[in-house]
């Protein structure tokens, strides 16, 4: 089974309002994104809200376009483009947050998108815990995760938090273990 199908299948076994940590190897990055946005979210008819603090949303948009993935139900909260000064073209489904340290604003934008896309259930993808950890200390990040996941649970949304294998640390594992219901390792079989 490919990584893409494998991730989608594993997510499909979860009840709604689940929060999961998804362990990803860099080489599988786009396979995983495809498995979530194209397979899983489409099957479950979810609106997807993709929070990126790793690479500019435009790079993901470009990749999705190459993969011919329908983007009408996909929204982005981009908190990295502004500090990387790479805001050349603005996608209509993207909201920008000035910096990945503005965690409250990140939450507010997610809340806003959930309000705007009322009617359907949502999946929120946080890409990634590792890049947020570069910009924030553990204490504030833990507090953020706790608040975000509980808010999303109350809204019956799925939360998927990316955790990059290459940057694993004890701090990050501990932080995730407190808030998630399950950890999924993205791999082919």
């Amino acid at each position: 089974m490919s990584v893409t199908t494998n991730v989608a299948e594993k997510l499909l076994t979860l009840p709604e309002s689940s929060a999961v940590a998804l362990q990803i190897r860099a080489e599988h990055y786009f396979d995983v994104i495809r498995g979530i946005l194209d397979n899983f979210a489409v099957k479950k008819e979810l609106d997807s809200i993709y929070i990126t603090s790793t690479i500019p949303s435009q790079s993901i948009v470009n990749a999705l376009q190459v993969l011919e993935i329908d983007m009408s139900n996909i929204y982005f909260v981009d908190c990295i483009s502004q500090i990387m000064m790479s805001m050349a073209s603005k996608h209509e489904h993207t909201i920008y947050v000035e910096s990945p340290t503005m965690l409250e604003n990140l939450m507010l934008k997610v809340e806003y998108l959930i309000k705007r896309t009322e009617g359907k259930n949502d999946i929120i993808i946080l890409d990634s815990i590792n890049s947020l950890a570069i910009h924030n200390n553990t204490k504030i990040l833990s507090e953020f995760l706790h608040l975000l996941v509980n808010n999303l649970r109350a809204k019956k949304a799925y939360t998927v938090i990316f955790s990059m294998e290459e940057y694993r640390s004890e701090d990050i594992s501990n932080m995730l273990n407190i808030v998630v219901d399950e950890t999924i390792v993205a791999a082919g079989e």
Partner: protein, 255 residues
């Protein structure tokens, strides 16, 4: 179904602001009939918040009145965020009414730069008459600070706010007085008396945290209800004012 256990400490009827995060912080809303201060430095969202409070009331069928002191209301309307939930018909149906204070002054012949005690009474009565006549349930005066400039003395300001508060409350009208302060201010109102008399204070500000500027809101006092005293971070959006608690992250100085 089992009877609900009610742990709330107050039985006062609420005026639901319709701003979800604020209603949560206020344990259901502003106690009906309260006269509260929405205070903060310029650009912190006082007008936006107050206006949204009125729009929700109007959508709920209550008559809502916005008395504009500083800005012509026609100009104000062109500047407000295009809310998803706003309906033009609210204005046509007279549910959402805008009055310009300078017009009221003119009608009352109050053209002096400083009002006397008698003139304060005339002004309070004029506002009360509008509220009574139109059965207004929610009122915003934006800003009370501009009115206070015309009163000058603490004594007259106290008199004005006490009288207008009592009158509006007796009419069952929940009122928001917008108050302007400078960012460095150590208190919640320019003249100091406003904050002591008001039934509630909602403080809006900016908070700098390691170079990021966050918009914040805090309920400092609210008579008639228990309320959160947490600082919230807010966003002014087309879906209205959204709030999340300020993350503390164990940090101290500078937020």
């Amino acid at each position: 179904m089992a009877p609900k256990v009610d742990l709330s400490t107050s039985t006062r009827e609420r005026c639901v602001t319709g701003i979800q995060g604020l209603d949560n912080a206020l344990d259901g809303g502003i106690p009906r009939g309260n006269t509260i201060l929405v205070t903060g430095s310029c650009g912190t969202g006082k007008t936006t918040l107050s206006l949204e409070f009125l729009v929700h009331g109007a959508l709920d069928g209550e008559t809502c009145l916005f008395i504009s002191v500083t800005e012509a209301s026609s100009k104000l309307l062109t500047n407000i965020i295009p809310y998803d939930f706003f309906e033009e018909s609210l204005i046509k149906k007279g549910k959402l009414i805008f009055v310009d204070m300078p017009v009221v002054y003119e009608r009352l012949g109050l053209n002096k730069l400083e009002f006397s005690l008698e003139e304060v009474d005339v002004l309070v009565r004029a506002v009360a008459d509008i509220v009574k006549e139109m059965d207004v349930k929610r009122l915003v005066i934006d800003s009370i600070t501009s009115v206070c400039y015309r009163l000058r003395t603490q004594e007259k300001i106290r008199d004005f706010i006490l009288k207008i508060g009592a009158t509006l409350s007796s009419l069952g009208c929940t009122s928001v007085l917008v108050s302007e302060i400078s960012p460095a201010e150590e208190r919640y109102s320019l003249f100091g008396v406003e904050e002591a008399i008001a039934d509630g204070i909602i403080f809006m500000g900016n908070l700098e945290r390691r170079g990021d500027l966050l918009r914040t809101l805090q309920v400092v006092k609210m008579r008639g209800t228990q309320h959160s005293r947490t600082k919230y971070v807010l966003d002014l959006t087309s879906a209205g004012v959204l709030l999340v608690p300020l993350l503390k992250g164990g940090s101290v100085a500078g937020g």
